[in-house]
């Protein structure tokens, strides 16, 4: 399983991904699901992936090597695209290329071609954008009304995002709330686990401001989890008990 969230706020973009993969509960390991493609001063993209690991890793490899363009006969790459929209289309084409290569064999083996991805970034001089790419290679774009997108096990961590994130949220508050959302997910679903990778991209900056991994025991995240637990405990304790009196009916 997987949980990834992307938050696109006024000052920039945060993308967070866990690293736990499992092929059955008895085969759990750690794989990077957040991939950064950066040409400092020119363009930076980040891709967070959920779903079948062989498929998503192939998509990442294709994006590095270039996706065959049947019209020109050339390999299209992320350094060559002229807009974020074209970049998202390229990711979609990479997904379709993998489906073409592996889809039939996977289907015969009873494996679903079931993936989704968050793809965000900025090309210098153009708007910063965030997309969710589906298994058919189509995609939607994150807007200002609900300035986040999620993939994987997204339901546990959605309530706090719904409540706490607006387009005007401070960039590092967006990171903080994203980490709380990740914490809620990890607590309720063993399929999502540490370490956590994240990237912070400030709008119009020349390169990612932060591209880090949080390991177990990392002091800030540990403190965040403790504080959040204590605050939730205090919050529900402070709410009065229901005043309803005994009745039957």
């Amino acid at each position: 399983m997987t949980y990834c969230a992307g938050l696109l706020v006024q000052d920039g973009l945060v993308m967070i991904a866990d690293t736990r993969t499992n092929a059955g509960l008895d085969d759990i390991s750690t794989f990077r699901k957040l991939h950064v493609f950066s040409w400092p001063g020119e363009r930076t993209f980040a891709l967070a992936t959920a779903g079948n690991l062989s498929v998503t890793q192939s998509v990442v490899s294709l994006l590095h090597e270039g996706v065959h363009n049947p019209e020109t006969g050339e390999l299209d790459t992320l350094i060559g695209v002229t807009s974020m929209f074209r970049a998202a289309q390229l990711v979609g084409r990479a997904v379709r290329a993998v489906r073409e290569m592996d889809g039939e064999a996977l289907s015969e083996a009873g494996v679903k071609f079931d993936i989704s991805m968050l793809f965000g970034g900025q090309i210098k001089g153009q708007p910063m954008r965030l997309f969710m790419v589906y298994g058919a290679g189509n995609f939607i774009e994150c807007g200002m009304d609900a300035p986040f997108l999620q993939i994987g096990e997204h339901k546990y961590g959605k309530p706090i995002l719904d409540r706490a994130v607006t387009f005007r949220t401070h960039l590092y508050d967006a990171l903080k709330v994203g980490l709380i959302s990740m914490d809620s997910t990890m607590r309720s679903n063993l399929g999502v686990g540490l370490p956590i990778d994240f990237i912070v991209m400030r709008r119009d900056a020349d390169e990612p401001e932060l591209n880090r991994r949080i390991e177990a025991g990392e002091p800030y995240f540990h403190d965040l989890r403790e504080r959040w637990s204590a605050a939730l405990r205090a919050a529900h304790t402070a709410i009065p008990r229901p005043p309803y009196g005994p009745t039957t009916g």
Copy 2:
């Protein structure tokens, strides 16, 4: 969609269910999903249902009318069972009876026989128990380690239950936390909505202590939602921003 939770704590049982049903987003209405079978002084059972409404309503009707017993030729009813285990088995048999009647036609129409139920209660002089009954009529029992069960859209509201409920939780705190869990679900999923039905059964009492509906605008629940929102806002605001400094890598 649906969200129902059952909490079995030291002093008793709380069961909560929303009432929203939808056959497509353009066909939303209100149906009771929490059903109480009570013989004061003798036994009380509560059944909360999720999934295909025609199936779950048929199960409830069968439980009222009695489930045919092929060995005795008689109709078995909840008033006749000798233990909570037998009662849960009877619910499972009712599910299987509906599958036998309707399963093939549903399948031909492309409708999944996809239901789940929470079934809890107590027979005088015996332990209070809570079960989750699946679409195959099999069931699991709630234990003391994680003293709650959920059906339907359960993920949004699971984190708060994971954090806040233990077997020693006060009965009305269990109700309160269950309502917070319902609130989190309603905020993030339009398929779950007011009014909410709930029942509170105190262990070894002669009848349900509370069997009520919360409508929109009900003062306590409105206040709970406001307080919870404010407390969550205060909680994430109080956590310091991440101290990570700019790096790339």
